[in-house]
């Protein structure tokens, strides 16, 4: 099996010039550096050989009103401008006093998850990553059906797209409390799966590769849908989910997980 490449700029799963650039390994651009505290500056002069990496708030790959009427501008303004920004600011504040710098965001999440005993930075780090992933999981004019290789893989692992869709919606509805629902590529089982997580947990901590993520915290939908979670979830599947982003992520994932059938010659 193979994915049909539309652009020749892909090589070994890494993109040349990404509009959607969610790599598995990337250094977050240090934009929006917080006011350096005297302590921070002291760190830099004393440990000139160590790099202090603070994290910045990345912007969604569309204007804040681009997802109307399915996700209002007001929601984006609050969700991204307040909640997401808060997580970034809180994380940066924590990192000033902590020895955990120099990591990529993905590394930081795994380290602070601490195998199930999360450190205080985990919540903020994971939520920063989760929300970046969430914005990039949506697009204006989204929804409809996946295509090409993604559709093939979904049909292989769920029997049909509508089976997958039902599984995803059911899983989201069955979530108790705050959390996320994911379409992940399981690295060990080498197949796609729907997974739900609580609070800030994301499948990266288990070494799986997320393909699509949906925020099920109430702040994600309450202004637009009040308590009608089912409508929110269905709207996400029908009108918001970016299969383009999913395709990009699957392509990259293939560099790390062998999805093909081994061609064992018959003697």
């Amino acid at each position: 099996m193979g994915f049909h490449l539309l652009s020749p700029s892909y090589c070994c799963g890494y993109q040349a010039s990404p509009p959607i650039s969610h790599g598995l390994l990337r250094f977050r651009p240090v934009t929006g550096i917080p006011k350096p505290s005297p302590k921070g500056q002291l760190h830099q002069s004393r440990r000139a050989s160590k790099v202090l990496a603070y994290y910045g708030l990345t912007t969604p790959p569309y204007k804040l009103d681009a997802l109307e009427p399915y996700m209002s501008q007001r929601t984006l303004e609050l969700h991204w401008g307040k909640h997401h920004r808060d997580y970034v600011d809180s994380l940066n504040k924590q990192l000033v006093k902590s020895p955990l710098y120099g990591h990529t965001m993905e590394e930081l999440i795994k380290v602070t998850y601490n195998n199930g005993n999360p450190l205080p930075e985990f919540n903020n780090a994971a939520q920063v990553w989760n929300h970046d992933f969430f914005w990039e999981s949506m697009q204006s004019g989204g929804g409809k059906l996946p295509q090409g290789g993604v559709l093939q893989q979904i049909e292989k692992d769920f029997d049909s797209y509508s089976n997958f869709r039902d599984t995803f919606v059911e899983s989201a509805m069955a979530l108790f409390g705050s959390g996320w629902v994911w379409l992940v590529l399981r690295t060990e089982e080498k197949k796609l799966s729907v997974v739900r997580t609580s609070n800030a947990i994301c499948p990266l901590v288990w070494g799986d590769i997320p393909i699509i993520g949906l925020d099920m915290w109430e702040h994600a939908y309450y202004l637009d849908y009040k308590d009608d979670r089912e409508k929110y979830i269905n709207t996400f599947m029908d009108n918001l989910v970016s299969w383009h982003a999913a395709t990009v992520r699957m392509l990259r994932a293939e560099a790390f997980v062998n999805l093909g059938e081994p061609k064992i010659p018959v003697a």
Binding site: L78, K82, H83, D86, N123, F176, G177, S178, G179, S198, N199, A200, W217, E218, H219, Y222, L223, K226, D227
Partner: protein, 244 residues
């Protein structure tokens, strides 16, 4: 014990036991006790609020109160009843794995019903004495265990604001140690999950649905304002009954 709180003053020896109950007045409609009989299995129903939806303004908007009561609380009750029905079936069939599997739905939805039933009683409109600080026994206990009412409020607000995700923050009475405590629970876990001797005096819902439409992400603002409509009289009554 927490179920007693739902039933109000009616004495019930209610557990998740099957069989018709001749409990006094349990089938009476608008008692606010929230219990009904159906096919031998007790089902729960939505208790009335002791005030109008708009009566708690401006601390909590009428829109939130209406949604919170008619949608969220009702959903917990509906799903609680469903889960209990399934439990009855599974127990009758001796399906132990189904029985075990249902526990999380029962804890979540049952907890949601229990917690919200307490919550409605914890709030009181401004013009009916909401926000009036506690006196006598509870007041003294607060001073003893926390230093001052202010200190207690600060502590509860801090813990409520720091709670990750969804949950509740409680003023609890440890009835064995006869001490007051501040506790938090996650999701809809009832207070007893933090200790079998804990009795809830006051609970504050910090799920986002409790404040989002009005306060948006400013949970600390919501926590600051909710004290203005806190029903300390109820908390005192529960306290005095438990330590008597």
């Amino acid at each position: 014990m927490a179920l007693r709180a739902i039933a109000g003053k009616k004495t019930l020896t209610l557990g998740l036991v099957l069989g018709p109950r001749a409990a006094a007045g349990a089938s009476a409609p608008r008692t606010g006790s929230g219990l009904r009989h159906a096919r031998g299995l007790v089902t729960f129903s939505l208790p009335d609020l002791p005030y109008d939806y708009g009566a708690l303004e401006p601390a909590i908007s009428g829109e939130i109160m209406k949604l919170h009561h008619q949608k969220h609380h009702q959903t917990y009750i509906t799903n609680f009843n469903k889960a209990l029905e399934q439990l009855e079936e599974a127990m009758a069939k001796g399906d132990s794995s189904k029985v075990a599997h249902l526990q999380s739905a029962i804890k979540f939805n049952g907890g949601g019903h229990i917690n919200h039933s307490i919550f409605w009683k914890n709030l009181k409109p401004l013009n009916e004495g909401g926000g009036e600080p506690p006196h006598s026994t509870l007041g003294w206990a607060i001073d003893t265990d926390f230093g001052s009412l202010d200190a207690l409020v600060q502590k509860m607000n801090a813990e409520g604001a720091a709670l990750q995700g969804s949950g509740w923050v409680w003023l609890a009475l440890d009835k064995e140690m006869k001490k007051l405590k501040v506790e938090t629970t996650a999701n809809q876990d009832p207070l007893v999950t933090k200790g079998a001797n804990l009795v809830p005096l006051l609970g504050i819902d910090v799920w986002e649905h409790a404040y989002y439409l009005q306060y948006k992400n400013a949970r600390p603002e919501y926590l600051k304002n909710i004290w203005k409509i806190m029903n300390w009289k109820y908390a005192s009554e529960v306290y005095e009954k438990e330590i008597a």
